[in-house]
Subunit: 359 residues, 2 copies
């Protein structure tokens, strides 16, 4: 292989700054000595202080020394003197439990990064002791603030230690402390969007399979469904809303009842239910979207995008939730009304809905 020829010369003395493993890290003072200046000077050129007067020649010499020695500033020392760290904490109750959490992390990461902050994360999997320790740790690192996030949209109790820091609730809210800042998905708008996909497909008689589990999503998504019907001038028919456990089995199990309803379209509480429903419908010889149109909710990629046919659904904006959380924390963005900030759930249309012209 050619690549074996790649690194000619003496492997023991690379030309990269040496920084051998595990020697004491290079410090400011060493750079200063190497450049023949004071540490103050080095500090000034590193931070490119605008009103510092440094000769170009000196600046050059310092930069050379830095490169030569492979100097890396010690962020800890920096933070110590500045009094304020560049950390944002993120405590999550379920990074592992759900494919979604990653997106919250990702969004928070990107946004934090953008403002020069690093993310300190802790996954508690719902363990209260762990959570306390995690928050304590963050507090000790003097984080700028903490994002407290849950893996599904729900009410939560704000742990008391959390109040020792700035914080914002992400994907959750606290009925007990209405003053706590929070950012949540706009379930109602999402439900409305989901229903509108069907409405745009010409459907008038639309079932909604809601969840049996109480949650803000349950109420919100139903409210959205009703709002959409309302806006379309279709009277709400309670008999068209069923309930099932929000997973594949639930969706599958609801098939029978659904078929009694004589609807041309159905909006499922989530994608997993829709996935189960696909199976049920297929077993009954029904084809999607021609015999019946289906939309889901959550946009759980592995499912929605790859079902046959691909499922139209509504996206839970986890990335945005994380990003907006950071912005709120930093005071860049705020909820207009002092309540929770609601993030849009955008519709993503695929092919599980087709035009329904016949009555």
């Amino acid at each position: 292989m050619i690549s074996q020829e790649k690194n000619p010369g003496n492997a023991a003395t690379p030309d990269v700054p040496v920084t051998r493993d595990h020697v004491h890290p290079v410090t400011l003072r060493e750079v200063a000595e190497a450049a023949g200046v004071s540490t103050a000077t080095v500090s000034l050129v590193i931070n490119k202080k605008k009103n510092a007067r440094i000769a170009d020649e000196t600046r050059q010499r310092v930069n050379d020394a830095i490169r030569q020695l492979g100097y890396r500033p010690n962020a800890m020392a920096k933070n110590l003197v500045s009094g304020t760290s560049k950390f944002i904490g993120l405590v999550a109750d379920g990074v592992a439990t759900t494919p979604f959490a990653g997106q919250i992390i990702h969004g928070a990461q990107d946004e934090a990064w953008k403002h020069g902050y690093a993310l300190l994360i802790a996954n508690t999997e719902g363990n209260v002791d762990l959570e306390k320790d995690a928050i304590a740790m963050m507090l000790e690192y003097k984080v700028r603030g903490i994002l407290y996030s849950t893996w599904f949209h729900r009410a939560t109790k704000v742990p008391s230690t959390l109040r020792e820091s700035d914080f914002v609730l992400v994907n959750c809210f606290s009925p007990d402390s209405p003053s706590a800042r929070a950012v949540v998905p706009d379930e109602a708008q999402g439900g409305q969007s989901a229903t509108e996909i069907l409405l745009r497909g010409g459907h008038r008689r639309i079932a909604f399979i809601n969840t049996t589990t109480p949650a803000p999503a349950k109420d919100g998504r139903l409210a959205g469904y009703r709002a959409a019907l309302d806006a379309a001038g279709i009277p709400f028919d309670p008999s068209l809303v069923l309930e099932a456990y929000p997973d594949q089995e639930g969706g599958y199990g609801a098939t029978g009842e659904l078929l009694q309803l004589d609807v041309s379209a159905v909006y499922c509480y989530n994608d997993r239910m829709a996935m189960g429903l696909y199976d049920g419908l297929r077993e009954n010889g029904l084809s999607i979207p021609d015999d019946i149109a289906v939309v889901g909710f959550d946009n759980q990629e592995v499912i929605a995008a790859h079902l046959r046919p691909p499922l139209s659904t509504v996206s839970l904006p986890h990335y945005e939730l994380g990003a907006a959380g950071v912005r709120m924390l930093l005071g860049i963005e705020a909820a207009p009304d002092g309540a929770a900030l609601k993030i849009e759930c955008p519709a993503v249309e695929r092919s599980s809905v087709a035009l329904h012209s016949a009555a």
Copy 2:
């Protein structure tokens, strides 16, 4: 509600340590003053130094002051003096891209935590500049070491800055620098376990739908398949291994070719392919597991556990990968042979395989 009665007394003066928002954090010195001792003393009682001689009465006084003031040690200052931080960095190329990454984070988190370390994570989504910045950031925080992880098992180039720190590759390996420590899933063992599920089900003529994409997994899973057949005394028949793109569509598309093979069982390169294959098989009126048994690979929960019937598969040990990575980094665990440490892919049996007695 009863809970409204919960917090009696004057809400403006809670009895919790006050630590009002955004005042200057309480420092050691303040505690010392409050307790009427020196900072040295406070430090000694906080860290419970074994050979420090402190009167019980004093100790008490200090602890009271700490509680009273709501003191939190400043981890930054601590690290500064100790010279070594309690951070472990985790750079991932795809927290968002995959539901798996969360597990690596989770495993690393738990293990790091166990040893008193906090996780500093950075998600690069494959962006090289971001990656360099992320590593630089970690270096500046003087992390104990860095876990460099990829979202699917593959060869990777070790970024040069990574060498400035201790590091271990997680879910990847570097052909260029064989000395780099690495921890990867044991694909061959996994492939063998997958095949053995089928073998145990009495199947002798087993197809393997491999991926078309080159990867360690492609070779490893095939090798495992062959090893299992070998061990069972079944000659390897190359015509029984097909190839398809490793997603639902690929699996669905492979149905036709598969049906020519006259096999009683099929082992798919991954769960997504199996999911597609389910659709294909069903369209052909075949039932799983009676007409044909199926196993997948990856144990992608949302899919495997909820397909109908639930899919037998083999688990990609992401949690363990993260945890083992941390252990390797800390020198607690090492690969026996100096090569990459291989983590077992455990079989998880569900109901997509049934006993096959007929020939």
